[in-house]
């Protein structure tokens, strides 16, 4: 068995043909192999997924994983990382999962700069529950829960993340594979909270391939350290209009990182209890 094969489990893959999830899995597999070759053991990786089509990635990777709940990747990942700062903790989340039900966790994870990587499979639709709108679906989107057309504008998640204090904010596209790999790699290696909003298509419910292909371009990233510049780049496309869509690292900076690495002392609990009781006497 090659190392590439053994990174994948025997579980039968049930994603629809043409789904963007394949590209995400493929790019991640490549990056993990690359990092493994550079000395990061594969046992160090823990994948946390939410619920939705994306989340099956936990079953498909032959790696440590916590297949969690809808919207709840981030708190689980945070606990894992706090418990063991040496682990490389990567969240896979869907846009419905992460930007709707799990939004507060996302904002707070960015705020506390917890050293995890969040990869959002953003197909702008609920796939597994058959095509309802999500927080990034465009205005007027007709899904089963909004047959008359959606009456809300999408969230510009890049702006939201910048506003939340994220120290690594990026966007990628599943049909730009080398770019996707580079972004994944940089996100994983970034000390602190790293976010990748991956635009992908849902082949069954929201196939935007041509539309994206015509609009997406790679930004230069030369000003990725400048917050105001990042905000302007984020505003080039608002997840709704017909503008050009920048992909790349919008913003990258350094801030104090959680968890702080500290040497944990071994404490004799019996003595500790005695000390505390003495003090309370």
């Amino acid at each position: 068995m090659t190392s590439e094969e053994s990174l994948v489990t025997q579980a039968q893959n049930t994603w629809c043909p043409g789904c963007g999830n394949f590209a995400i899995q493929h790019a991640m597999k490549f990056v993990i192999q690359e990092l493994e070759a550079e000395g990061i053991s594969r046992d160090q990786f823990v994948l946390v997924s939410g619920i939705g089509c994306h989340a099956k990635i936990a079953d498909y990777f032959q790696l440590n994983s916590f297949y969690s709940l809808h919207g709840r990747t981030i708190p689980v990942a945070t606990g894992i990382k706090m418990a063991n700062p040496d682990l490389k903790v990567i969240c896979f989340a869907g846009d419905g999962d992460l930007y709707a039900e799990g939004l507060d966790h996302l904002i707070h994870a960015a705020k506390r700069n917890i050293d995890i990587t969040v990869i959002c499979h953003n197909n702008r639709v609920y796939g597994l529950t058959t095509g309802q709108y999500t927080p990034t679906s465009p205005y007027g989107y007709k899904g089963k829960s909004t047959p008359q057309g959606l009456h809300e504008y999408p969230l510009n998640v890049i702006e939201l993340l910048l506003g939340s204090g994220a120290t690594f904010v990026s966007r990628a596209y599943t049909r730009r594979l080398p770019h996707l790999r580079r972004i994944f790699r940089e996100a994983i290696m970034h000390p602190g909270f790293a976010h990748v909003d991956v635009l992908q298509i849902c082949a069954s419910f929201f196939n935007m391939t041509t539309w994206y292909d015509e609009r997406i371009y790679e930004t230069s990233e030369s000003n990725a350290g400048l917050f105001e510049f990042a905000c302007r780049t984020a505003q080039q496309w608002n997840y709704n209009d017909d503008a050009k869509i920048p992909i790349g690292i919008f913003f990258k900076t350094k801030k104090p990182v959680l968890p702080e690495k500290k040497i944990k002392k071994e404490v004799n609990r019996s003595n500790l209890v005695k000390t505390i009781l003495d003090r309370a006497t």
């Binding site: 916590f66 969690s68 708190p75 689980v76 404490v267 019996s270 505390i276």
Partner: protein, 553 residues
């Protein structure tokens, strides 16, 4: 009763929120403990920071006490309301010490504002003055009072001591509280602190919680000792995050506990069910308060029992212990950590405001047990390997060459999602076998507490914090006391033994429906009388005596 008067005292101190009533109460409790008494302190306060009426009752006895009495020997009044509301509870020889000229009454006047101003103290130091006044009135030697003030008032100690000395000398002795012969001071901690200490003894590595009365004391206590104990204490954005973070800690090999009250636990039920399915262990401290919804946030209740038993979708085993005393709180908190990790289940410490925020000296010296290590896995590792008792050994990432997968879906032995019919059944059976194992491990002596006249045909039945008061009433009326500490899985064997020969059952509970009654009816028991209280206040001894007498006759 006359002889017992000498070995037992109750002191009530009252004032406005912001007057430092709770702290003053603790000073008085410490003074009694220093004199060798067992102490219990009840605190009553509304959900506000300034104003309103707060009071504490400190009961000291030469025997362990876990409840308060209505009758008090001394009232310390920092406001008029204290006098207006509580003077009727004064025993015949009792006295009021009051802040004059602010409060109008009879007894010992103490010009607190004047004394505090004399030493340029802050208004809050009025609480030091009135406690010193109590010492003067109760014949407590100054050097003993001083040593307690020094130890407990670590900020602005000098000014506090000057104020205390002055107030002490301005009161005249009206009674003499003697030290208990041969007794030495005992530790004095809140129920929440006893629980926190038990969690430490049980081996937790992390505590995750969002502030919520009356459970916050556990968070505050563990945060204050986190460095010393080498544990992580985290306060995240919500109770939803709390339980999921804790499950993350647990997956990565750190024993984690969480704490909350009803409303926060509502949010946690999603994560609770995840813990049940993924078999990731967790300890949940659940301190009940009046509900539903925001309810009575600073008052007590036992109305979340059935919710705790059934919370979360689907079926999975859980352990619930409802301790009633400090040593039990300590012991079951420690046991819960061990049971949760041994069986990979959620384990609950079910407390309430009375236990959590009550302050206690322990009935005995708490014992710290050494626990055996967890069984080691076989390789190649399967997270959900099937075993005769349904318990799969835990392996912690990173582990070279092994993959460790946990899953919220029904899964196979490796942890990969499976919707296969046979596998689904196998996983249900695995969880049911864990439940059987848990029953066998917990239906043991100690799971049900008996007291009073243990052969009596009438039994007072209770669980959790009301045990203290029920026990005293059972003793007084020659009735049997039966009180399960383990609630889930219900200790049927131990309970049967405890109930042998009982003909009449009186259930006492701080709820409006008698929730333990519902559980018992499933076990084939019938209660004859329900004494229920749901105004958020615990029964005092005299109050419950009267209620039980009425239903017993």
């Amino acid at each position: 009763m006359e002889a017992e008067q000498l070995s037992e005292y109750s002191v009530l101190i009252g004032g406005k929120a912001g007057d430092g009533i709770a702290q003053a109460g603790q000073l008085i409790a410490s003074i009694f403990s220093e004199l060798g008494y067992y102490v219990y302190q009840y605190i009553d306060y509304p959900s506000l920071i300034k104003g309103g009426h707060n009071f504490c009752i400190i009961r000291a006895s030469d025997k362990p006490v876990f409840t308060h009495r209505t009758g008090v020997d001394l009232i310390l009044a920092l406001d008029q309301k204290t006098v207006d509301l509580h003077t009727s509870n004064l025993t015949t020889k009792g006295t009021v010490i009051y802040d004059s000229p602010k409060v109008k009454t009879e007894g010992q006047a103490l010009p607190i504002e004047e004394i505090v101003a004399q030493f340029k103290g802050r208004a809050i130091m009025g609480n030091t003055a009135i406690v010193a006044g109590f010492c003067g009135c109760a014949g407590i030697p100054w050097n003993l009072a001083e040593s307690v003030f020094r130890k407990k008032l670590t900020k602005e100690t000098d000014i506090n001591l000057l104020i205390a000395r002055e107030a002490f000398s301005r009161t005249t002795r009206c009674m003499q509280i003697h030290p208990v012969e041969g007794a030495s001071p005992r530790p004095l901690l809140s129920g929440n602190e006893w629980i926190g200490l038990g969690l430490l003894a049980g081996g937790i590595d992390a505590y995750v919680a969002y502030p919520m009365t009356p459970s916050s004391g556990v968070l505050h206590f563990l945060a204050s000792v986190a460095d010393e104990a080498g544990i992580d204490v985290v306060h995240p954005e919500s109770e939803i995050a709390v339980i999921l973070m804790a499950l993350g800690f647990a997956y990565a090999g750190k024993k984690a506990a969480v704490g909350t009250s009803g409303g926060g636990f509502c949010l946690m039920t999603e994560g609770l069910s995840l813990a049940g399915m993924s078999e990731v262990p967790i300890v949940i401290v659940l301190s009940q308060r009046g509900g539903p919804s925001t309810g009575l946030p600073t008052y007590t209740a036992q109305s979340d029992l059935l919710f705790t038993c059934h919370a979360g979708q689907g079926e999975f085993p859980r352990f619930i212990a409802a301790p009633a005393t400090p040593v039990e709180a300590f012991k079951w908190a420690a046991e819960s950590v061990q049971l949760a990790w041994r069986l990979q289940i959620p384990a609950f410490i079910l407390s309430d405001k009375t236990l959590s925020e009550g302050i206690y000296t322990p009935e005995t010296t708490p014992e710290v047990r050494a626990y055996p290590p967890l069984p080691s896995p076989s390789y190649p590792y399967k997270r959900y390997a099937d075993t005769p008792d349904g318990i799969s050994p835990i392996l912690i990432p990173p582990y070279k060459g092994e993959v460790i997968k946990v899953n919220s879906y029904t899964h196979d032995y490796e942890g990969i999602t499976s919707e296969d019919s046979e596998m689904s059944i196998a996983m249900v059976h695995k969880r049911l076998r864990k439940a059987e194992k848990l029953s066998a491990m917990t239906d043991k002596p100690g799971a049900v507490i008996c007291g009073g006249s243990v052969k009596a045909k009438t039994a007072i039945l209770c669980w959790g914090s009301p045990r203290g008061v029920c026990n005293e009433v059972a003793q007084e009326l020659n009735m049997r006391l039966v009180s399960p500490v383990v609630i889930s899985p219900f200790p049927a064997g131990e309970f049967r033994k405890a109930m042998e020969g009982v003909e009449k059952v009186i259930l006492v509970e701080d709820s409006s429906t008698g929730q333990l009654d519902k559980i018992l009816s499933l076990e084939g028991y019938r209660t004859d009388e329900l004494i229920l209280r749901y105004d958020g206040r615990p029964f005092a001894v005299e109050e419950l005596l009267e209620k039980v007498r009425r239903v017993a006759s």
